[in-house]
Amino acid sequence: MAGGYQAVRKVVREMTPQAVTALIKDSNLKGRGGAGFPTGLKWSFVPMGDDARHPKYLIANADEMEPGTFKDRLLLEGDPHQLIEGMIVAAYAIHADVAYIFLRWAYRLAAERLQRAVAEAYANNYLGPNICGSDYSLEMYLHVSAGRYMCGEETGLLNALEGKRATPRAKPPFPAVSGLWGKPTVVNNVETLCNVPHIVNHGAEWFKSLSHTGEGGTKIYGASGKVKHPGAWELPLGTTVREILEEHAGGVRDGLKFRGLIPGGASTEFLLEQHLDVKMDFESVQKAGSRLGTGTMIVMDDKTCPVGLVLNLERFFAQESCGWCTPCREGLPWTAKVLQAIENGDGQPIDMQRLALHTKLLGPGHTFCALAPGAMEPLQSALNYFKDDFERHIREKRCPLR
């Protein structure tokens, strides 16, 4: 048991909730689910004190449905108590009464282990009434979802947990003020929460010193695709793309050449050879024109068709659109159809403009949530970096790699 619930004992006995939030703010921990929002700042938005509305909720987002991402599964299966401990500390910091683990349906082993670990935590008075003899009490429940990518979106998740369709909600009000059943709620990613006990035990300065850059801590990076050793590794935040790809994943398989990668799940822009020395932290990847996202890279080799790959991504997003807002519901299937036509050899030169237009029409500010803008990120960078491949498909009326 990593930490052995030392952090829980420490916070409920020695620290005020405000002091815990201040510590996490000082550590510079940013959300590891993809958006990179400062965790302590998120907690600080929750109304505190006697006037605050209860029950308040803390939710661990364990939905992990971003294609190419498998880091949270390793944390959930490997050490469920680490997550539970992080959740108790986070819940204490916002004075939550109830905590939920929102787990994706496919993680059966994680569900079993979490269920058992929650029961053990109750049996040892780390959950339930008067935790470790303090006056703080917390209930924790496991909710196993029934599918759909939209559940990973913060407000979609809230609706799913309430037993509704997982459509997004308008913001503001933000969940910190009005979330689950209209009550103050914080939703944090699994990896984010797993960092919390260690920050409590070792301090903000220690956490910051773990990283290669100004952003604190470590990150679980991953690599999948035709690399020699696909996997996931906990490394200092700011480790370069090259080190992850070449040293840890072993580079692309023999006989293949590296063409590019999407660094943080399906909804991030491509990085190429020229970006290999980019540090994988939030700021550096953004400067390179992409996003750190989940930090689990999907690697594309020279025998994999970029048009086919982007088609696969856009079909995913079109299918997973919740249908709530028109641009996303109508635009994504249209984008996928155009890409399918190009891949089939039925593309026309004007399709390039059509796709470019869609990356604008479905971009930030035009849709209700971030799903469609996220879907456009790999597409717009592919149109830029792999323009020749698209044009060759259209010119030769076939996929050159098939």
Binding site: P55, G68, Y107, V144, A146, G163, A166, W181, G225, N312
Partner: protein, 161 residues
Amino acid sequence: MLSEHLTMLTEEIKREIEAEMHHYPRKQGVCIEALKVVQRHRGWVSDESLRELAEFLEMTPDELDSVATFYDKILRRPVGKHVIFVCNSVTCWIMGYDRVRERLTQLLGTTLGETSSDGRFTLLPNVCLGACDHAPVLMIDGDTHLDIEPSKIESVLEQYK
């Protein structure tokens, strides 16, 4: 008031649903879990089950169906004895999903979304299963099968009689 004609919701199913109910401040909150409980016992959620469950949860059938049809892991059509979810997301696609799908449809004599004529398997496409370091991946009845080669599929299916 529950009516007399209830047949799909056995006492056991109701007990399992009630055990989850206290996790949510409102009765409706348990409905996704309740649909999963029904499916675990019945294999899928029929119109009859849905109507009875709605009554039990004090929802209208349409309200419950709007939830049931949103979530792809709630099956509103009958399925075979075993359900195969084959991952078609990006990493599995790079690693050979197309060949895996071809071999599956060939062995089962069915297309995606259908049930084999002997009723043994239903083949459904699925988004990322979160095991991309072992792609291609498929899941049968909740068991994840990693590093699937087309040549391995027949022996994997043999495990499910």
